[in-house]
């Protein structure tokens, strides 16, 4: 079995900072990312960078990824790209799949810096080819230089939606419709998006971009069954962490957006602290990293982080009300009978389970996400529920009045990715 002192999973800003810090403190570090290059979300964003350091600020974000790559090469970090960490087993044993097969990696300490995925919610037509996440649109525009379509509708509001609208227009696409609320959107067409309507407006369009924001993705930490708390800001559960970003499982750290970090600067600062702590760096270095992290956080975020320490269960969401724009989606999804516009819409894309079928499971007594999963197969597909768990939680909340804070995430089991069966057979000992 291969071994390393510190394994860092995810080579976005948090993971890169963790790897650099741990290497600086003298530890042997392996940095793993499933994408072909390091940088995480930096790779496909082109907005000017803010809040990292003087050498990087002002560059288009994607250029900063290249600079960080050079820093990793200069430090003694072993970088594995194109490699997915798909399982976290007892005693720091990670299963990693590469195109050449799977291997086990024994790590003394693990930093999970797996970032986020885009938040999505179902609307009629959302499975049509041409409908994609904001991240997919950015990847096509900036990494591959392809327009998602010439006439594009954008669903969502807020800074991420504003950024993708700007990106689309800069690349020469026309944004023909914007809708803040996914509950108001209908996409239609024969085998692909041809029309989109929202709030009484109707446009011809050949793509729809979903930009509702991002949701933390700490899957590997969930597999390790770390203690969780509830974030009212993000309407989801997050790993509880000590001052040094260690979870309830000793030696397992979570840093960056995977743990709810708000932005790049905070993700980077969290990564550095987790890397130093995992490597057992000197107290002076750790204290300096803690101060830098405190500066990168707003007072609200600092208060949230304090609530999400071990021994405190986060904050319960009041019984009513969900953060907009999801509240009206939750109401619409829970309200209909079996024949409204949403009944036939897939909630789970992978297993093609409709909102109507999930409503029925709830009527028949399902009170947890795992109940819904067992009754309908929703969430059992290849995406492991990452694109439907939020919709299930909102639907449960709105139809049964269960506070979101009490709806626990679905049980995570390896593998976290649809890896070929051969990979499982090939795990080298």
């Amino acid at each position: 079995m291969k071994s390393t002192a510190i394994a860092v999973i995810g080579a976005g800003p948090a993971g890169i900072a963790a790897a650099l810090a741990a290497a600086e403190a003298g530890a042997a570090v392996t940095l793993i990312d499933e994408h072909p290059a390091v940088g995480g979300q930096l790779r496909w964003r082109i907005a000017p960078l803010r809040g990292l350091d003087d050498a990087l600020d002002g560059l288009p974000v994607c250029r900063a990824a290249e600079t960080l790559h050079e820093r990793l090469a200069a430090a003694d970090v072993s970088v594995l790209t194109g490699a997915v960490a798909w399982g976290l087993f007892e005693d720091g044993c990670l299963a990693v799949a590469t195109p050449g097969g799977s291997f086990l990696l024994q790590a003394e300490k693990i930093v999970v810096a797996t970032g986020s995925v885009d938040l999505v919610l179902p609307f009629p037509g959302w499975t049509l080819p041409g409908v994609m996440t904001a991240r997919a649109a950015q990847i096509m525009l900036h990494l591959h230089r392809v327009l998602p379509g010439r006439r594009v509708a954008v669903v969502g509001e807020g800074p991420d939606a504003a950024e993708i609208v700007h990106d689309l227009e800069m690349a020469g696409a026309e944004v023909v419709l914007r809708a803040a609320d996914p509950a108001q959107v209908v996409a239609s067409g024969e085998g692909r998006v041809e029309r989109v309507s929202a709030n009484g407006e109707r446009r011809e369009a050949n793509a729809v971009v979903i930009a509702l924001g991002r949701q933390p993705d700490p899957e590997l930490a969930l597999q390790a069954q770390v203690d969780l708390g509830y974030s009212t800001r993000l309407d989801c559960h997050l790993p509880l962490r000590s001052e040094l970003l260690e979870t309830s499982r000793p030696g397992l750290y979570v840093a960056g957006e995977a743990a709810g970090a708000v932005d790049l600067a905070e993700s980077f600062a969290e990564g550095r602290l987790a890397g130093l702590a995992a490597a057992g760096a000197t107290l002076e270095r750790i204290a300096a990293a803690q101060e830098a992290l405190a500066r990168a956080r707003s007072p609200e975020r600092s208060a949230e982080v304090d609530r999400l320490r071990p021994g405190s269960p986060g904050e319960a969401r009041p019984e009513t009300g969900v953060g907009t724009p999801w509240a009206s989606w939750a109401e619409a999804a829970a309200a209909g009978g079996q024949d409204d516009a949403l009944a036939q819409v897939a909630l789970c894309r992978c297993e093609q389970v409709t909102i109507g079928e999930v409503r029925q499971a709830i009527e028949e007594g399902a009170v947890t996400i795992n109940d819904i999963k067992r009754r309908t197969r929703a969430g059992m597909g290849l995406c492991q529920g990452i694109f439907c768990a939020r919709a299930m939680a909102l639907l449960l909340h709105a139809s049964r009045g269960i506070p979101l804070s009490e709806i626990v995430p679905m049980t995570e089991r390896p593998p976290t990715r649809p890896i070929p069966l051969a990979s499982l057979v090939e795990v080298e000992e």
């Binding site: 690349a171 085998g191 894309r349 093609q352």
Partner: protein
């Protein structure tokens, strides 16, 4: 075939960009999609080459043959599964194009057909 197409510049290609500059010339890579020849750009993902030429459907689903295409571009949703050189369930959003690749829209869960050729 006009010149734009032969450098892999399909209809939806972003040729000029205010921040990223002009699209660099790249070596053309010849692929076939459902038997039709297509020119892609070296290094790009299969799904990007398809989208550039206005091809949106990667697979159809087991239920109702519902068509699906690129959704997350991260390898997470599996809406982009295609059959490539006889191997089913290849994620078109992550898999780079290669000279001579034989790519088929995948029906349902796909069927192993062994390496082509």
């Amino acid at each position: 075939m006009d010149e734009a197409r032969s450098i892999g510049a399909g209809d939806l290609r972003v040729l000029h960009h205010p921040v990223l500059g002009d699209l660099p010339v790249s070596r053309p890579v010849q692929i076939t999609v459902d038997g039709q020849p297509l020119v892609a750009r070296e290094g790009e993902a299969i799904a990007a080459a398809l989208l550039a030429h206005g091809i949106l459907v990667c697979r159809t689903m087991p239920r109702g043959r519902e068509p699906r295409g690129l959704f997350c571009a991260l390898g997470r949703c599996t809406d982009c599964l295609m059959t490539v050189d006889g191997e089913p369930n290849v994620r078109a959003c992550l898999t780079p194009v290669r000279e001579g690749q034989d790519i088929w829209t995948q029906a349902g869960l796909g069927r192993w057909e062994g390496p082509a050729g």
